[in-house]
Amino acid sequence: MSAATSPVGTMPVASATGDRIAALRAEGRAALVGYLPVGFPDVERSVEAVLAMVDAGADVVEVGVPYTDPVMDGPVIQRAAEAALAGGTRVRDVLRVAEAVASHTAGRVPTLVMSYWNPLLRYGVDAFARDLAAAGGAGVITPDLIPDEGAEWIAASDAHGLDRVFLVAPSSTPERLQRTVRATRGFVYAASTMGVTGARSQVGARAEQLVADTRAAGARDVCVGLGVSTGDHAAQVGRYADGVIVGSALVGALLADGPWSARIDELQRRTADLADGVRRARGAGPVAAGRTVLAVDDSTTVDPTSQETSP
């Protein structure tokens, strides 16, 4: 880990998530990033659910901090967050998830915390980065923090060697894509559509172009989220993206009626279906040089493997 006093950007910081995605690229496939909130239906069982999701094929864990005002989330995740808060879930509970995943997978599966900004601000940005790193977490996804407002987080994540995943959207201008790519470490989170989280019948048509544009802006690793919910979606997105992010479809399995064991079974069934999707995406077996399969990649003028992901 880098020294706590290292100033922003002076020292390349390794990326646990980036390494994981690179390893999967060598296997010829995209990563499956699975989201679940901590604390639903309670902290204990949310840890159990995350580990079950990992066992069923999630390559990267995204664990959500429940928040009272989740403006990027649709009804499914809102409901789970409301229940988690009503049950007394605290911000620090995400650290237990990071620890559990790290120990369960011997550090193979990175855990990213997804949090709106105010809970981390209140915890103390540097203190949270310190505690997350100590718990074996890989980094943080910040849906309502743009790099322009992120000086404190950029410094803290550098100091503690954490990934910082910023988002891009179909509305992002080329200048903003560049700025965001430069500030990002781990992967760039490409929102497939203009909207909030939630299962949709199809993945936004602008996702593929956004991934290409984000690569053109210098990104190596770009994962696509919002509205990805089935194995077929994963197979489709996994052809052109470095990772497929799924949230509401997995949370929905836990929100269903029925005994807990049946909900876990359903969660694992959906995860396995998605894991199968990312494996189907580019055909079987490893490919020689990363994303070589798709026509869309021909439009990408920048060789993505030559790009630095550190700012």
Binding site: V71, E82, V91, L121, Y123, S171, V196
Partner: protein
Amino acid sequence: MPDQPDQPVRDALTETLAHQVLGRLADVQGPYFGEFGGRFVPEALIAALDELETEYRKALGDPAFTAELARLHREYTGRPSPLTEVPRFAEHAGGQRVFLKREDLNHTGSHKINNVLGQALLVKRMGKTRVIAETGAGQHGVATATAAALLDLECVVYMGEEDTRRQALNVARMRLLGAEVVPVQIGSRTLKDAINEALRDWVANVESTHYLLGTVTGPHPFPEMVREFHRIIGEEAREQVLDRVGRLPDALAACVGGGSNALGLFNAFLDDEGVALYGFEAGGEGIDSGRHAARFSGGAPGVLHGARSYLLQDDDGQTLPSHSVSAGLDYPSVGPAHAWLHDLGRAVYEPVTDDEAMEAFRLLCCTEGIIPAIESAHALAGALRVGRRAADDGRTDQVILVNLSGRGDKDVATAATWFGLLDDEAAQAAQGTEGDK
């Protein structure tokens, strides 16, 4: 915004200090007011916020835009709003002279129309066809629905379910004006949740839709832009008081929810050092009760709805529910410019309880024949307090200017229940659907 890739964060402190040295407080521009404000929103909205800022700055410099807005103020809203001296009310304020800036006499019954007309004209310039808005008391929703009707825009208003019951008459009013009113049934079911839902709509529909935010909160450029559209309140009042009294007032009093009417009044006096500025927040059932919306007395700096400001939050950064008898003040955060003025010490913010506000409400009704909005009654209660304090200090020559930001028609049912003015059956009828739920 400056584009310096390796130094992506604007140096807010330097900017503000520069303004303080070189310019007037009244002219400070976003995104930061001191350490407050900013843009804490999803990336998806940044392009729309940039477009809005560009269009707004162009419009302010365009004589055609300012002329059209001035015409609407005059011919549609009925500006300038009068300044009314209220001597019988003032007898209860330590014998000082009290003047009311009569924003209640604007078309649609509150100051909200000033901002709405400005933004609605911008919407036309941007070529968008749909507006969405949040509303608490319903005043901003009614004003937005009104402007949408006038300018042929599709209009959807998000309103907490709890507020749709408290303000059933305004719901009907918005629907009469052709707006769709969506009751928000998640979270605390009040103003903050209506804003969450409006933001979700905006992210999904930003290409066709403008979020016509109703107060001086939210991401840049809203806090600055909404202040600009309301600064006419203070500019008119300043001239009117000078004309009537021959000098500036000693103190201003305004209620502060998000803070648009207060900032609109304060702005013209920010650089007049002799004018004391008082913002009155909803003290609800008292700060100790925990049931209030007093962000300065009971909150701490944090981020909500795109801006850094004072915020009611727990020690985990979760937003705490606010409470007030007045739906329009029932909001857990406050405009970043107020947070800045608070920390600068330029304005003083005090809580006024439900009880105090309702007493002032009744007093203005009985002494002056004016029924104020319960929001504005917080300012009236504050003016009574400021006047009495000055009298206790031996001063009885004070001129106090109160922003009467809205009229109280919408609050008659609440007041009738509060004061027990109706028998049970009539009270139930007056409360609209509330009795049924």
